[in-house]
């Protein structure tokens, strides 16, 4: 298959070949998707029976693209007398403007055919190649081709129409086209989707004719305003400016408006397959973006609060007070064959919810929201003690109750082998991973601050602080690996320390649970050759049993992980180390044209010279997109204290000057300036990079 081209609007998106065609199979993830359902699996353009060949593709905006094509699929370009332009924009389905230009001095008569079909596959079916249980139907009526699927009361339809006269049959549209010399012919094609998925429909699916002009201008205006509202960055390092611009636009594309909060946006997890509400991803990304776009945090808090767990439901791994993991809208969820309505199998989202609520208030001063979510925050805090203590020892742990379709690993490192002993053995369940205890500690401390300052409940604040102090004391005793001088990645139910050295230690610094006396040893590990590659901190240290530089959570480097590690290092005063991590990841960003991938290989920087991308299907990914934003915060040392924004820059040498202007917050708007004074082992800037060397290696 040719290169994939993706455009999207919220959770409606199109993935096609680079000639604009869609030819999906059950296992091939191309097509028009909306609400986790494929609404078009075949969309193939031919002229006189011939396929078209791409000359170029212009990604105009994230929701709009233009394909320049010529007839014939040969590899050699023949001086074509015809050229074809398909301009496609997503919005409530999609709109395609098909234009044919005749460059000849003779008129032409052409048969233009668009083949259309749909399998109405659920994303889960595409992933697992499952068979459909309902019935398909197709019809032509009232100038529209209708493709449909029905299973009991579940009905999904795709309706296709054109502005120019055409013959329609159940397999597509045929146009008899006559074009005069040097003239053009054009038609608008509308692909509308009918979905009950949003829950907003009455008896029949709703048909939205994607209004060509309206949809596009709304999206354009929205993007323009979004970029204008964010702080502006100026700096003498062009690469950083590019990365910042890219991050803002990508974050705009990743915005997702939940059905119950129309007009409000939260960050979805990844484009295109994870354009939905995720507890963990939405919270982490909102935290990263707080100094730039605090509205994301606000919507995340409100939406996750509305869907907070309220009962015991084993299928959905739901408990009272628990924050959801993932919401889905496809057929398998609709028939309760998958638990995502929503699914609650995440164990970190709940404490992180309280962390985000507090951080949001510190930046925005929006006490009103904190008051309105008091009940939710209290329920989240209660969940930590009442439902998460699966080992019965006062630590958060996870073990799924839905053993068929639930998630086995409910922390961010959710692959099967991510949690291991130094010698590679895997621990049993329930698992109490270390970073969870940090999040719990932070949630209690921050909950205490909110209780004291906003909810006016000092007794509750005292209780939370006492519990936090107790948790910190026990944690530093029970998780500390004495012979390694770091924290174990997890505890077994019998109290054994799962003693691998992993990047989770950095999240512990961020949470504040690390004893001051132990912080230096932890920071030293994070910056050691075993963990720091020159690009960033590996998920698992080199030398551990399961270390693999291209293992998903056992050796790769995650930009998101590193952004929180840098924040943690700053929290404990390790400014230079934080700057070094920022420099490495931001250097890597240049290789990806400012768009950081989910993860890249943990190879030594000196070995590969460039960051080796880990192959994943989602790009951009929300928390990778948010990473440069958080790095800007940590490099500039931005910290809201009371009504003020403190700026305490620690920038790598390679950045001469950095200005972040109009940072919004409870202070109104403020500017931050910094100059690069931290020696991160940089050589003279090469190819636009800061050129961080590993500690201990020679400077060039």
């Amino acid at each position: 298959m040719s290169a994939e081209v993706k455009i999207l609007d919220g959770n409606t998106f199109v993935v096609s070949d680079d000639n604009g065609d869609i030819e999906a199979s059950l296992t091939d993830p191309t097509g028009l998707f909306s609400f986790d359902t494929r609404f078009l699996s075949r969309w193939v353009l031919t002229i006189d029976g011939q396929r078209l060949n791409p000359l170029s593709v212009d990604d105009l905006q994230y929701f709009e693209t233009r394909f320049f094509l010529v007839p014939g699929t040969g590899t050699v370009y023949i001086d074509a007398k015809l050229s074809v332009i398909r301009q496609r924009a997503v919005g409530g389905g999609f709109h395609e403007e098909l234009t044919i230009l005749n460059h000849d001095d003779k008129p032409v008569d052409l048969t233009v055919r668009l083949e259309a079909a749909c399998d109405f596959a659920d994303l889960f079916e595409v992933k697992d190649a499952l068979k459909k249980q309902g019935e398909y139907y197709a019809s032509v009526d009232d100038g529209r081709l209708v493709l449909g699927y029905r299973r009991d009361t579940y009905v999904r339809e795709t309706r296709i129409s054109a502005t120019e006269a055409c013959a329609m049959d159940e397999g597509g549209l045929t146009f008899a086209v006559h074009v005069e010399p040097q003239e053009k012919w054009a038609t608008d094609l509308y692909v509308s989707i009918g979905r009950g998925a949003s829950g907003t429909t009455s008896g029949l699916p709703k048909y939205e004719r994607p209004a060509k002009k309206k949809a596009r201008t709304t999206l354009e205006l929205s993007l323009e305003k979004w970029v204008d509202d964010a702080p502006s960055l100026d700096c003498d390092w062009d690469s950083l400016k590019r990365t910042y611009g890219r991050s803002l636009v990508d974050l705009a594309a990743l915005r997702f408006s939940p059905v119950m909060l129309p007009g409000h946006y939260l960050p979805a997890a990844g484009l295109p397959w994870f354009m939905t509400m995720f507890g963990r991803d939405s919270i982490f990304t909102s935290l990263q973006a707080l100094p730039f776009a605090s509205d994301l945090a606000r919507t995340t808090l409100v939406a996750l609060g509305l869907w907070q767990g309220a009962r015991h439901d084993d299928f959905r791994d739901e408990d009272p007070g628990r924050i959801l993991h993932e919401m889905r809208f496809g057929e398998m969820t609709a028939f309760e064959e998958r638990p995502h309505s929503p699914y609650y199998g995440s164990v970190d989202a709940t404490p992180l919810y309280v962390v985000l609520l507090d951080e949001y208030e510190r930046w925005t001063g929006d006490a009103k929201l904190v008051r309105s979510l008091e009940r939710q925050a209290r329920a989240a805090l209660a969940w930590i003690d009442d439902y998460a203590d699966l080992q019965g020892n006062g630590y958060i742990a996870y073990q799924r109750r839905n053993e068929k379709t639930g998630l086995e690993n409910q922390c961010w490192k959710d692959s099967w082998d991510s949690i291991s002993y130094r010698d590679g053995r895997l621990p049993g369940f329930p698992r109490a991973t270390c970073e969870l205890q940090g999040y719990a500690y932070d949630a209690k401390m921050r909950g205490a601050r909110l209780a004291r300052t906003v909810w006016h409940d000092p007794a509750f604040a005292d209780r939370l602080e006492t519990e936090a102090a107790d948790l910190k004391r026990r944690f530093n005793r029970d998780f500390w690996v004495e012979d390694g001088q770091y924290y174990a990645i997890a505890l077994e139910p019998d109290g054994s320390k799962v003693d691998a050295l992993a990047s989770n230690n950095g999240h512990l610094l961020w949470s504040g649970i690390v004893d001051k006396s132990k912080a230096k040893a932890v920071a030293r590990h994070l910056m050691s050759p075993a963990m720091y590659s020159g690009w960033g901190v590996r998920t698992l240290a080199d030398g551990q049993g399961r270390y693999n530089p291209i293992g998903y959570h056992v050796g790769t480097i995650w930009p998101f992980d590193n952004s929180f590690i840098a924040w943690g290092l700053r929290r404990y005063g390790f400014k230079e180390e934080a700057a070094r991590i920022a420099a490495g990841i931001l250097d890597a960003a240049e290789f990806f044209e400012g768009r950081l991938p989910e993860a890249f290989g943990g190879y030594e920087r000196e070995l590969t010279k460039y960051p080796v991308q880990y192959p994943t299907s989602c790009s951009p990914q929300a928390w990778s997109t948010g990473a440069p934003l958080l790095f800007l915060r940590t490099m500039l040392g931005l910290e809201p204290i009371g009504e003020h924004l403190i700026v305490d820059p620690a920038l790598p040498h390679g950045i001469g000057r950095l200005e972040l202007l109009d940072i919004p917050g409870r202070w109104g708007r403020m500017d931050a300036f910094g100059r690069g004074r931290v020696d991160v082992g940089s050589r003279a800037r090469r190819g636009g990079q800061l050129g961080v060397l590993k500690p201990g290696s020679k400077k060039a």
Binding site: D152, T201, Q308, E336, G392
Partner: protein, 124 residues
């Protein structure tokens, strides 16, 4: 056919007094269909507390569905969101009210071989 079990609706009121739902105020009309028969219940949400009545003013949101679907959802045998997605329920109006209200619907019974609540007793 019998109408919707009033006990299931009263249970909503009771649960909201024990565990108030997110404070979104408004009225949801349960439009319960059973053959030709239409049953209407006005579910009023105020400051997280729910009251159910036969009569009411203009609803902010209308939830339409068969009696069997209402019965299954209100007794925990089916999930409300899934029912909406598959068209067994249809909703019009302010969906945010349903997001809050669904917190009061009972959860599904335990999966075979698993306890209804799989968490350990906390040791002090």
């Amino acid at each position: 056919m019998a109408e919707l079990d009033v006990g299931l609706l009263e249970a909503l009121e009771e649960r909201s007094r024990e565990h108030p739902v997110p404070a979104v105020d408004g009225v949801v009309l349960f439009d319960v269909r059973d053959g030709d028969r239409v049953d209407e219940w006005y579910v009023t949400m105020k400051k997280g507390i729910v009251t159910v009545a036969r009569k009411g003013g203009e609803p902010d949101c209308v939830l339409t569905g068969g009696r069997a679907t209402f019965d299954a959802v209100l007794s925990g045998r089916a999930n409300a969101v899934a029912a909406l997605l598959r068209g067994a329920f249809n909703a019009q109006g302010k969906i945010i009210l349903l997001s809050a209200l669904q917190q009061l619907f009972p959860g599904s019974p335990g999966i075979d071989g698993l306890p209804a609540a799989g968490y350990a007793e906390r040791q002090s």
